[in-house]
Symmetry: C2
Subunit: 328 residues, 2 copies
């Protein structure tokens, strides 16, 4: 039997070791409740998809000044107007990062891995701490599925010493994504600004080529998880459908970035879309489908817990966050 203050646990989350058993000093003071905590609660939210238990696991958020060119085909004034309409601060962008943990019943599956280990004070790189709060040890993860090879999705495959962060996991990646980023010709022809991303892909996947399994689109790649080609954001960018019983959730990954900007204005080009025209075509196709089928959608960069619906609204769509349920 152990005795421990939950307030301390909650308040100290970010300072804790990343996983496994928690060692802590008892805080003692009964009046601890009177001083502010100064930290957010762990970024976890559970929901059921049929018999699957899904957990949105935040990797944190990063706020940057709104750069001219963040939206390539809209003016700063237009982007600020969209931020204001969504009651978001003007002149800045907060990107959130939401890997998804899925207990399929037989397998523990993680879709995308966050920004990876960060140095002190970073507001991202929280995946491992939040997984630990969810009671999940890295060795428990059976399968890691990657939507595409941008660093905020793959860097969490490695720990801070460069070892595999999920040592028991098979790693499933889109075949089209692998083919593009691993191609020496593509790398040599790519613009200078993309060289770092090519090198990062090679760093992350170095020496684990045999562990990586490449999947095609429209395949059930894990129990109840089907790949859907949503190319454009990257050459092999892939979304997923979770399906169990009568329930279905569309895991859009980066079909849109911030919903306040790109669900509302699907024709806007976020600077990260590698083939903007194709990305817009994909966005239209996916959001027409989501709206028509009234399908739940989760987005990697949506505000945590990153779950909701899309409705047609004028020339674009409106993102309607799902109500948080205090009951699972």
């Amino acid at each position: 039997m152990t005795s421990i203050s939950r307030r301390f646990l909650f308040g100290a989350a970010a300072a804790l070791p990343a996983y496994g058993a928690l060692s802590t000093v008892l805080p003692g003071a009964a009046s601890a409740g009177l001083s502010p905590i100064g930290q957010q609660v762990p970024g976890l939210y559970r929901y059921k998809v049929g018999t699957m238990e899904v957990t949105a696991v935040s990797d944190g958020a990063r706020t940057s000044p709104l750069a001219d060119g963040f939206v390539k085909n809209a003016s700063l004034a237009e982007v600020n107007a969209a931020l204001k309409a969504a009651f978001l601060p003007e002149g800045q962008i907060t990107a959130q990062f939401n890997p998804l943990l899925i207990n399929t019943g037989g397998k523990l599956v993680l879709i995308d891995t966050g920004n990876g280990p960060q140095s002190g004070g970073a507001t991202v790189g929280q995946l491992m701490a939040n997984l630990a709060w969810a009671g999940v040890k890295p060795i428990d993860v059976d399968t890691v599925i990657i939507s595409h090879f941008h660093p905020d999705h793959i860097n969490g495959l490695r720990d801070d010493e460069g070892a595999l962060a999920f040592p028991n996991a098979e790693v499933l990646v889109p075949a089209a994504e692998w083919a593009y980023w691993m191609d020496e010709g593509e790398m040599s022809r790519a613009p200078e600004a993309r060289q770092a991303a090519f090198k990062n892909v090679r760093r992350v996947f170095k020496d684990i080529e045999t562990r990586v399994q490449r999947f095609d689109a429209d395949k059930e790649i894990a129990p109840g998880i089907t790949s859907v080609a949503t190319y454009g954001h990257t050459p092999g960018h892939t979304s997923f459908v979770l399906a169990s019983g009568n329930d279905k959730v569309f895991v859009q990954a980066d079909v849109t970035n911030l919903p306040a900007l790109f669900v509302t204005h699907p024709e806007w080009e976020v600077q990260y879309d590698m083939d903007p025209a194709k990305a817009i075509e994909t966005r239209r196709r996916v959001y027409d489908m989501l709206a028509a089928e009234r399908l739940l959608v989760t987005g990697y960069h949506f505000p945590f817990p990153a779950l909701g619906h899309a409705a047609k609204d004028g020339e674009g769509y409106r993102f309607v966050p799902a109500d948080w349920s205090p009951v699972l």
Copy 2:
């Protein structure tokens, strides 16, 4: 030093004692992560209002069939259409309950107290468990502020043995609310359906009359917390403004019930509005102000964490949930 599985903590929240030190059995099995948790994470969310640290603390949620008469002046078909437009299930209503904990710097203040102790299996009455997860012991609470005397706001003042749930707290109540519910003449003239509520008020406040302080509208009743008369829902129904530095949040209490119905249709009368015409007038006045000032608002029955903005939209308003911030 103690060693404990956080997964166990998170998974076992609802079964834990309501407050204080946590005693638990170590789960042992390293593979615990592979079985589903089967419970939602604790309903807690922190935000800053200037130097105040505010915590939304869920008391849970209750789902009931949509009754004819839940909205007194709309048909079931109209209500179902509004639910569908918000991507909520038709034919049922889920009410959430969101007391608010405020660390003013010098005082720990709780606004409203939830449904109180419930018997096993209830999906409400979670306030104490969630406060414990936040590290707050009932003896730590300095001040309890009550918005109005409906049972889902006051019943948590008593524990399951009828003792004061927050034994060190002063209890602040709206003077107009106290005057109405404690008046024998009002009770004798009230319709039969309201007798239980009168009796419940007398049960909850029995023998603590000297501890209760009655406040008027437009007074700073605790550091940075000002009362605002929003009569109609009940005769003395009161909202609050939290203000610190440049930040301000309007604590609307029950000016509207579910935003998907009553922010969208402020002219709709929820069955709980005791003076429907006055409640609608109040709702219009408050929401015109919220929309004009672009003020953050939190609502007791809003979906957790119950924070957002209101925008004018046609004849009504649109509730725009605030983005969850993984960073405090």
